[in-house]
């Protein structure tokens, strides 16, 4: 039905696509550690040794764990399996709140204590008006 050239070009495109998909799969697999933006407290627990360089830890801010004084704020990041104490001095983003997502960048002092130099808030995919939120909470 189609000419030989058309068939050749079709298989050429398919070959390029398959090669690209396989190679990008392999590259992303091997680079996984660099592709992820942060690690969870459970990942930190599994470290064989402490990392000296800057890392990011992400999870939820544990309920009732925030305590702040004049120049320092400390709280606990949890992934509901493991948790880690974080202390930070500086301004926190608006969406930083107990029970919400957070990413802390800094240095791990030991497996339970993290000294953050930057705090980012991670928000979830839920969007709703305040009244709806209030109605949901009543339930």
């Amino acid at each position: 039905m189609y000419g030989r050239k058309v068939k050749l070009r079709f298989f050429f495109v398919i070959a390029i696509l398959v090669t690209l998909i396989l190679s990008s799969f392999l590259i992303l697999r091997s680079l996984e550690e660099n592709v992820i933006y942060f690690q969870s407290p459970s990942d930190i627990k599994n470290f064989a040794e402490l990392e000296k360089k800057k890392i990011r830890i992400g999870g939820m801010v544990k309920k009732n764990s925030i305590s702040a004084d004049a120049n320092e704020i400390s709280f606990i990041i949890t992934d509901f399996k493991n948790e880690i104490n974080v202390s930070y001095s500086g301004v926190v983003p608006n969406l930083f709140e107990e029970g919400k997502g957070v990413v802390a960048e800094g240095i791990l002092k030991d497996k339970n204590y993290f000294l953050a130099s930057k705090i980012l808030a991670k928000h979830d995919e839920n969007y709703m008006p305040p009244e709806v939120k209030a109605a949901l909470e009543e339930k």
Binding site: V6, V13, I16, F96, A121, H123, E125
Partner: protein, 235 residues
């Protein structure tokens, strides 16, 4: 025959269309802006900064849609040697790049008050930047290569390589830990955006799609005029 469009026939339609598309775009954009800036509620968590979503999300959708369309058309055009498909792709690309940049810039503006940073080397954001670079390469290729046969091959190859990035953008938030939140709107499951916010989002998406169509028609007409000036009446 799909392969040989009559230039004059297409031009008689596409040269009149921009007027109507422009009027429709202005109407839909006005409704969209009023809905998203005035009538839509504020978010329980982000309050008014959620309104950036009504520009950010449609822009990201449109740019991904346009890149996918360009790849599809270029690939089919390459396999079956359909010149018209390349001209359509070429005319679509500029608005794709514009919306890609809009998505990145509004993302930065949104990220500062909510996350606390303008930029993060997170998988979603970085892959979106890579898409912008593919758009730039694609558009540059059209400028660099004058020879028709060569430019078709080069641009098809750029889109085929670039299309690998599109599923990575889509699923980056599910595959890896990212600062960017996961998708709120899913085809298979219930969306996590309240319906009062979903409505303006859809209207704004329609407005941006109309804008892309408008820019496309203007670019495409230019291409058709160029062909007519060469004295050809068939593509």
């Amino acid at each position: 025959m799909i392969k040989y469009f009559e230039v004059n026939k297409i031009f008689s339609i596409t040269s009149k269309a921009p007027k109507y598309v422009l009027i429709l775009f202005i109407v839909v954009l006005t409704i969209g802006l009023i809905e998203s800036l005035i009538f839509s509620p504020e978010d329980y968590k982000q309050s008014h900064s959620v309104r950036i979503m009504y520009v950010h999300v449609p822009a990201a959708w449109i740019t991904l849609g346009i890149f996918s369309s360009i790849t599809f058309l270029s690939t089919i055009g390459y396999i079956f040697k359909i010149k018209n498909f390349f001209l359509i792709s070429k005319s679509l690309a500029p608005s794709g790049l514009i919306f890609n940049i809009i998505a990145l810039v509004t993302g930065a503006i949104w990220g500062k008050p909510t996350w606390g940073t303008w930029w993060a080397w997170d998988a979603r954001i970085t892959s979106m930047l890579i898409l912008a670079l593919f758009y730039v390469m694609y558009l540059l290729a059209w400028r660099i290569y004058q020879n028709d046969d060569k430019v078709y091959k080069v641009t098809s190859l750029i889109t085929i390589i670039g299309i690998i990035n599109v599923p990575i953008i889509k699923y980056s938030v599910d595959w890896w830990n990212t600062l960017h939140q996961p998708a709120s709107i899913n085809i298979l499951s219930k969306s996590t955006i309240h319906s009062s916010m979903l409505f303006p989002l859809m209207i704004m998406t329609a407005a941006f799609a109309l804008f892309s169509l408008l820019i496309f028609l203007m670019k495409y007409n230019t291409e058709l005029i160029k062909i007519k000036n060469k004295g050809l009446d068939r593509l």
